[in-house]
């Protein structure tokens, strides 16, 4: 009969209409409201990253092995209030670069003069991170290397550094790719977490005894990961605890960091809001590591590993390739979420993808928190072959966006290495530990020529549920190309900085084996009138507080300080970071977007020493549009407004 069928179809049409009416709008046609312009050459801060070249015994997969090392740290090393840039080189005898911000939109290269050129005489630089170790108000530098002792430089305060590696005791020889400064015991002295990739020693095939593994003069080619999914033969993790006087003691095993993953990125942040920084190590070829700090319940503090075996995969229980970690509260529930990059290749590998771990309440997990991967639901899981990624409010609308780099090896696009790779992965033995077994890469392409991703967060549904661990994740639209970011280089590290102090966050991208790029944010042009507020925190290590038998203090850089800004019915959360993410360190000062006509209502600062300060009213509103300065225990100081002549000419 026709009539009933017709009527049923009409009903289905009505259901579909209602469903569609309530479907949240898709961002595909969205105007990104943000525009970037690449000005690296004009600004004089272009750096050509040089690749590491290992022993010829690894020639068959040299493109793979030499695909890491382009790192960048965006910090103010000379204390003039302007953010500078430090970039690593991985090629033999090629120095690192230090670009000093002149304040007029251009940079000076001063690495050699400052004494931090390094130079890769034996090994190769892979990562660099700054932190004020001696609490004298200027940033010291730690450079992580392969097959050469990591180097530690103390900032003299006059724009130059001196090598203090030996006295500090942090000159580890191994294959590191990740490091971050964190004050895990909140004693006011910075600690240093280092994650390593290759193991530093392997059994010598001739004698069977453990010997140092030198990838430039290898004893064996059996140096690769044991499996592609559960590799545990990577380098060990190091936790250098600061003990004062610029010295450290290594305590990783004692505090519970025992897993030997192939660590590519590390980060620290307080994930359960108990005031104690927790750790995340993103590992390649196997499970990432999430550790909660037990500082609130035991002394000295240790780390308790959290593994969620109920999800597929659950946090800490994945068999994927973690390449980055960054922290930000994207859904506004007051708890920091995580973004971890991974691999997704259309046609070849679509079962993984980047991960957006949303932090929600849970009755039984340690710390009362659970993480669920909302990447696909939010639209941020397709990042290509991902590397460094950061949360940032790119368009100053008060919602956190995500910028993610990608691209592995640019090669001949007609010959991809994917088939060979998949074949290795699907073998029954899944044993790829011997590099000699790998098919030669030659000039094959492997997820090369990928466009970076800029995921802009869409405004939430009209009636958001506040203060709930809701199951509706935030949604994003990918707008990089439309926003002017369309390079096809293989990005590794990204520093989110505001080099011209105009309140619109810029991006400095370090590309593997290619020139770096400075993307200047031209927000004022496309979305004028969006307000913002910046904050620079300075801790007072001398103002110690006794709490429950512990002496707590903030480091001079206030690493780990938690700030909450109430504005427009939403609360934005930021934490001062000691450098998190793959090969990336963003500037330590905090930035909040407020949207059009936004007014900051209340600012709450929780210092690592436990001290809480709160600001509202005219004192706070006066800081609008500037980078305010707050010294622990003192009052909020308005920053200098953008000085005419400073910044880039339009």
């Amino acid at each position: 009969m026709h009539a009933p069928l017709k009527r049923t179809l009409v009903m289905l049409a009505l259901l579909a209409t209602g469903w569609a009416w309530l479907t949240p709008p898709d961002g595909a046609r969205l105007d990104p409201g943000v525009r970037f312009e690449e000005i690296g050459a004009r600004a004089g801060c272009r750096h050509l990253h040089t690749l590491v070249e290992l022993s010829p015994r690894f020639a068959n997969i040299m493109p793979w092995l030499s695909s890491v090392g382009a790192a960048v740290a965006g910090v103010d090393f000379d204390g003039d209030g302007l953010t500078d840039l430090y970039c690593t080189s991985s090629g033999r005898d090629v120095p690192n670069r230090l670009f000093r911000n002149r304040g007029d939109g251009s940079f000076d290269e001063v690495a050699a003069r400052a004494g931090v050129a390094c130079g890769n005489r034996q090994g190769a630089c892979m990562h660099a991170v700054f932190g004020d170790v001696d609490n004298d108000g200027d940033l010291d530098l730690y450079v992580v290397k392969w097959a050469e002792e990591n180097q530690f430089f103390i900032n003299r305060g006059d724009g130059t550094f001196r090598d203090a590696t030996a006295e500090a005791g942090v000159g580890y020889w191994g294959y590191g790719n990740a490091a971050t400064f964190v004050d895990y015991d909140r004693d006011g002295l910075l600690d240093l977490l280092v994650g390593n990739y290759f193991a530093d020693s392997l059994p010598d095939p001739r004698t069977g005894r453990m010997a140092r593994s030198n990838l430039w003069d290898p004893l064996t080619t059996r140096v690769m990961h044991s499996t592609f999914t559960h590799a545990d033969n990577g380098g060990r993790t190091l936790l250098y605890r600061g003990i004062g006087g610029g010295r450290f003691e290594e305590v990783a095993r004692e505090v519970g960091l025992r897993f030997r993953g192939w660590t590519l990125a590390v980060g620290a942040a307080d994930l359960n809001n108990d005031g104690w920084p927790d750790l995340y190590l993103a590992n390649d070829f196997g499970p990432d590591e999430l550790y909660f700090n037990t500082g609130a319940t035991e002394w000295p503090p240790r780390f308790r590993r959290v593994v969620d075996t109920t999800a597929h995969p659950g946090i800490g229980d994945d068999w994927w390739k973690g390449m980055n970690v960054d922290f930000g509260d994207v859904d506004g529930n007051g708890y920091l979420d995580l973004y971890v990059t991974n691999i997704l290749a259309r046609r070849y590998k679509t079962d993984e993808g980047n991960m957006l771990w949303l932090n929600v309440a849970d009755p039984v997990s340690p710390g009362g928190r659970r993480f669920w991967n909302a990447a696909e639901a939010s639209g941020v899981h397709d990042g290509g072959w991902g590397w460094g990624a950061k949360f940032l409010d790119a368009n100053n609308d008060g919602l956190l966006d995500i910028f993610a780099l990608n691209g592995f090896v640019n090669g001949d696009v007609n010959h991809t290495y994917w088939f060979a790779l998949q074949e290795m992965v699907t073998q029954t033995r899944n044993n790829a530990a011997d590099a000699a077994d790998w098919p030669p890469m030659a000039d094959r392409d492997l997820s090369g020529y990928e466009r970076s991703r800029l995921f802009v967060q869409l405004p939430p549904d009209p009636a958001p549920r506040r203060n709930g661990s809701g199951t509706r994740p935030p949604r994003f639209a990918e707008v990089a190309a439309r926003a002017g970011i369309d390079d096809l280089d293989n990005g590794r590290g990204v520093a989110v900085i505001d080099f011209d102090d105009d309140g619109a966050l810029d991006l400095y991208v370090a590309n593997q084996g290619a020139t770096s790029l400075l993307y200047h944010n031209r927000l004022e042009r496309v979305s004028p009138g969006r307000r913002w507020l910046g904050l620079r925190l300075e801790g007072r290590p001398d103002l110690r507080r006794e709490v429950g038998g512990r002496m707590l203090a903030s480091t001079a850089g206030a690493v780990g300080a938690r700030v909450e800004l109430d504005a427009g019915g939403r609360t934005q959360v930021r934490e001062v970071s000691g450098g998190s993410g793959y090969a990336s360190q963003s500037e330590p000062r905090l930035h909040f977007g407020l949207g059009r006509g936004g007014r900051p209502e209340r600012l709450r600062v929780r210092w690592p020493s436990g001290r809480v300060q709160s600001f509202e009213g005219p004192a706070l509103e006066a800081c609008l549009g500037t980078y305010a300065r707050l010294v622990e225990g003192a009052s909020l100081e308005r920053g200098e407004p953008q000085v005419a002549g400073r910044g880039v000419a339009p």
Binding site: R304, P363, R465, T471, G548
Partner: protein
């Protein structure tokens, strides 16, 4: 009209009906045995009120009233009570140190008296609280409490327990630790104080497994531990620790009976909260419902009404905030035992 027999009607012979009813009755019996009416744990037979610590609540109420009454020289009032009443009056007059001394003295004469012990603890609590509030208001750097308050009541009660070990003295000491964590809510102080308290209460319960005040105290300890605390593997509590203790409390209370409605409602509300914290919202709502039906107290009804407005997915966050608020409500401390006899 319907109802007239037709071919569609199932033919039911009497035998079938009887068998059917018997089957249902058997099922009901099985269900009762398996889950019980309220899914509460079993209570040992022959349980007495004094074993459970719930004997003579009326007597306790009387004593508490006499303590509050203006100091008159009643005959028949035992000297310890009289001393305690004097001490309380002195504290109220502003002679804190002397008043506390008298209370201490009274307590050491009758260490197992819950009324005197509670009065002493509450007096110290309010004195410390006032002192701390003053300090904050005046923003002086005088962070130390005066010597007669500094290590109290823990020091006195520890001594009392050493000299007169009993379940009542251990209970008072355990509650004193909770007083501590209410006044100093930093997580780093809460955690060890709670551990101390739970250990003491577990000690009591090891020899007196049905002593309700200790059960209630331990259940509340577990319930109010902030979920965000990360415990080392060795020291972490079972996820249902709170609901187990509180459910046993409720079961014992129901067996003994005669509890004032407000107490019943408070217990049911706490049990509901425990279930909510463990991620069982259905059970939680059932118990909140029972709490609602048990009492007409407006404050209690208001807090239950708030809970019913929570959706499943926001329940944990809201509950944490609510529990924290309750813990830090210093006007009506959680550890005030007078809720038992009021």
């Amino acid at each position: 009209m319907t109802g007239s027999a037709n071919r569609a009607r199932v033919r039911l012979s009497p035998t079938t009906v009887v068998i059917g009813l018997a089957a249902v009755a058997a099922l009901a019996g099985l269900a009762l045995w398996r889950g019980g009416m309220l899914d509460l744990p079993g209570v040992p037979a022959g349980l007495t009120a004094s074993q459970a610590g719930l004997a003579d609540l009326a007597l306790l109420r009387g004593r508490a009233l006499r303590l509050e009454a203006p100091a008159g020289h009643d005959e028949g009032v035992d000297p310890a009570m009289a001393l305690a009443a004097e001490g309380l009056a002195a504290v109220r007059r502003g002679e804190a140190e002397q008043g506390l001394e008298k209370l201490c003295e009274a307590l050491s004469r009758k260490p197992r008296d819950l009324v005197i012990g509670n009065a002493y603890r509450m007096a110290v609590f309010h004195l410390r609280r006032t002192w701390l509030a003053d300090v904050t208001r005046r923003e002086t750097l005088a962070k130390r409490l005066p010597p007669y308050l500094e290590r109290e009541p823990v020091a006195t009660l520890e001594r009392l327990r050493r000299e007169h070990p009993s379940r009542e003295t251990t209970l008072q000491l355990a509650l004193a630790w909770v007083d501590e964590l209410m006044l100093f809510p930093a997580l780093e102080i809460q955690a060890p104080a709670s551990v101390e308290s739970v250990n003491l209460l577990s000690e009591v319960l090891a020899s007196d497994p049905v002593y309700v005040p200790a059960l209630y105290g331990r259940g509340l300890n577990y319930l109010h531990r902030p979920a965000r605390l990360v415990w080392p593997e060795a020291r972490k509590a079972a996820p249902d620790a709170a609901s187990r203790d509180l459910a046993l409390c409720v079961a014992i209370g129901r067996r003994i009976g005669g509890a004032p409605p407000r107490l019943v409602a408070t217990l049911a509300l706490a049990l509901g909260d425990a279930y909510a914290k463990e991620g069982r919202p259905g059970h939680a709502r059932s118990w909140w419902q029972i709490a609602q039906n048990s009492s007409r107290d407006s404050a209690l009804l208001e807090s239950i009404r708030r809970r019913f407005a929570w959706q499943d997915d926001e329940m944990l966050d809201r509950l944490e905030a609510e529990l924290e608020g309750r813990l830090l409500d210093l006007e009506q401390p959680l550890t005030d035992l007078s809720v038992m006899w009021r």
